[in-house]
């Protein structure tokens, strides 16, 4: 693929043809930076970059940008997640510049869960731009060196821009066209929703590859190990846009309770090994929610360690 646009290590790894590995770190519900740092240090050597979520599930937390800065100062490369739910185009552009001022080199553009899921159900939402338009905005600021309003930016942000994709949400027939749209808007990498339905994911990425889309962006497959059969059932029934096949639930239910977490990790490792071989999969995004200590094990067992030096 093309030359480097930023100083992002993630960009370098992906463009060098290696499988990229990212993980995520949710900022705490308080102002103690140690919590972020601890999580970051746990996975530092096993991943190329760490996503920092932006008030995920609409629960108020420490700001993603602040947590990214804490990680960056520890030598960990952050992926700043930014949702369009809470900020208008002034605040979004301003935070992009703020991130760039700390040389945070990656961003993931999202719409964000609806506020009714979180702790401010009676709050407003903004949605001045949508996630695709946010991708366009970052690219415009970087590539044209201009604000949306047209004025020139002094030292434009050098940011490698990603977007999310959910291969499983409805309606299925537009999942690939939707990916095409995100790429047309300028998404350079894609991190997918957690994959449990491997067959459906393969079908999606095949259709994407048939349209040449996997040549135009780096698709990182989203992976979340199941901690228990309870979690699997919850994900299946309660989390919008999540596709958990019954076989996964049956497999977890088939082992004693104290072995379910281990089985969840096994499933995750097997899935990564299977998807590594699939054309169009450029890497993995491992989201072990409040279970960061398992990330090194998964990455090692999946054969993704050591990380390439670029």
């Amino acid at each position: 693929m093309s030359a480097l646009n930023t100083h992002s290590r993630l960009e370098k790894i992906l463009k060098a043809g290696h499988l990229g590995v990212t993980s995520e770190c949710g900022p705490p519900r308080g102002s103690d930076a140690e919590e972020v740092k601890k999580k970051g240090l746990l996975i530092k050597d096993y991943v190329d970059a760490v996503n920092v979520t932006d008030n995920q599930t609409a629960m108020t937390r420490m700001s993603s940008l602040a947590a990214c800065i804490h990680l960056k100062l520890l030598g960990i490369e952050p992926v700043l997640q930014m949702v369009t739910r809470d900020r208008n185009r002034i605040a979004l552009q301003s935070d992009i510049l703020g991130a760039a001022s700390f040389d945070i080199p990656n961003m993931l553009c999202l719409s964000g869960d609806h506020q009714s899921f979180g702790d401010c159900k009676s709050g407003q939402n903004v949605h001045d731009l949508d996630s695709m338009q946010l991708v366009q905005t970052v690219r415009y600021m970087r590539d044209e060196g201009k604000f949306l309003g047209g004025d020139a930016i002094k030292r434009p942000p050098k940011i490698f821009v990603g977007a999310a994709a959910n291969p499983f949400a409805d309606p299925f027939e537009i999942r690939v066209p939707r990916l095409a749209k995100k790429i047309a808007c300028g998404a350079e990498f894609i991190q997918t929703q957690c994959i449990y339905n491997i067959d459906k994911f393969k079908e999606w990425i095949k259709r994407a590859a048939d349209r040449g889309l996997t040549e135009k962006t780096f698709i990182m497959a989203g992976m979340t190990p199941m901690k228990s059969v309870g979690m699997a059932k919850y994900m299946k029934n309660k989390v919008p846009g999540m596709d958990v096949p019954d076989e996964i639930i049956a497999r977890l239910a088939g082992v004693p309770k104290d072995k379910q977490a281990e089985e969840g990790v096994n499933i995750c490792v097997e899935h990564i090994q299977e998807l590594k071989e699939i054309k169009g999969v450029s890497g993995f995004h491992i989201m072990a929610i409040e279970w960061e200590e398992k990330v090194p094990e998964i990455i090692q067992r999946a054969g993704l360690y050591p990380r390439p030096q670029v």
Partner: protein, 222 residues
């Protein structure tokens, strides 16, 4: 039309508690059609208030009247001759009507008897649903005639978001995903190629964001 919902009777009782001569003022337009503030609802509210105050042994005058429209000077003038008979008016019109009456009768307390909900349609018997948020710059031509501004919980212009499940919105199984409806319509119109056109960043200055809006038409001014 404008969809409104009756306010809880306890709230209205609380508001009129200290007034002795009250006019319940209905409107014959939208609120009549959505059965929240027409002649029938004026009657029901007036009797409920009378019964309530009677039970407390309190004497109050509670009159009923329904105007053709409350968002119109001409019809609002009809109550001018009687206005001094009252200490307060409970208007069952939408927020527009209540305000128009308040502007006209400067010293008269005007209390809303309904909650104005949205611009919507009568989808079924007893069911009214939102269709438009008056964004001031209609994009329906691009979205198969379905409005993502009013019907998508995140106003996504290039949807659906990742939360769309079985045609429903992530916020509730009872809410249709606007983008599922848009895709269904584009398919029915054989216009799926339009789906891949990226919607430009919207100019919200014609929306609420731009401040109170107005329409001026020199050609219809007298």
């Amino acid at each position: 039309m404008i969809i409104a919902k009756k306010k809880p009777i306890e709230e209205i009782i609380g508001e009129v508690e200290n007034f002795d001569r009250i006019l319940i003022l209905g409107c014959n337009e939208c609120v009549t059609v959505c059965e929240a503030g027409g002649k029938k609802e004026v009657e029901i509210l007036a009797s409920a208030l009378r019964m309530n105050f009677m039970a407390q042994g309190r004497e109050k005058t509670i009159d009923e009247r329904t105007l053709e429209r409350q968002c119109d000077h001409e019809y609002l003038e009809e109550i001018r001759a009687d206005i001094d008979k009252y200490d307060a008016i409970v208007s069952l019109a939408c927020g527009v009507g209540v305000q128009f009456a308040a502007e006209k009768y400067l010293t008269m307390p005007l209390l809303p008897g309904v909650n104005t909900v949205c611009l919507g349609a009568n989808e079924d018997r007893g069911l009214w649903t939102e269709r438009c948020q008056a964004c001031g710059s209609c994009i329906l031509a691009r979205t198969g005639g379905i409005c993502p501004v009013s019907r998508c919980a995140k106003r996504v212009m290039n949807g659906p978001c990742g939360g769309s499940t079985n045609g429903k919105c992530e916020i509730s199984k009872d809410v249709d995903c606007a983008w599922q409806l848009i895709v269904d319509r584009l398919k029915a119109l054989d216009k799926m190629e339009d789906y891949e056109k990226v919607a430009p960043i919207k100019d919200w200055s014609t929306d609420r964001a731009g401040g109170p809006r107005k329409v001026t038409r020199e050609d219809v001014k007298i």
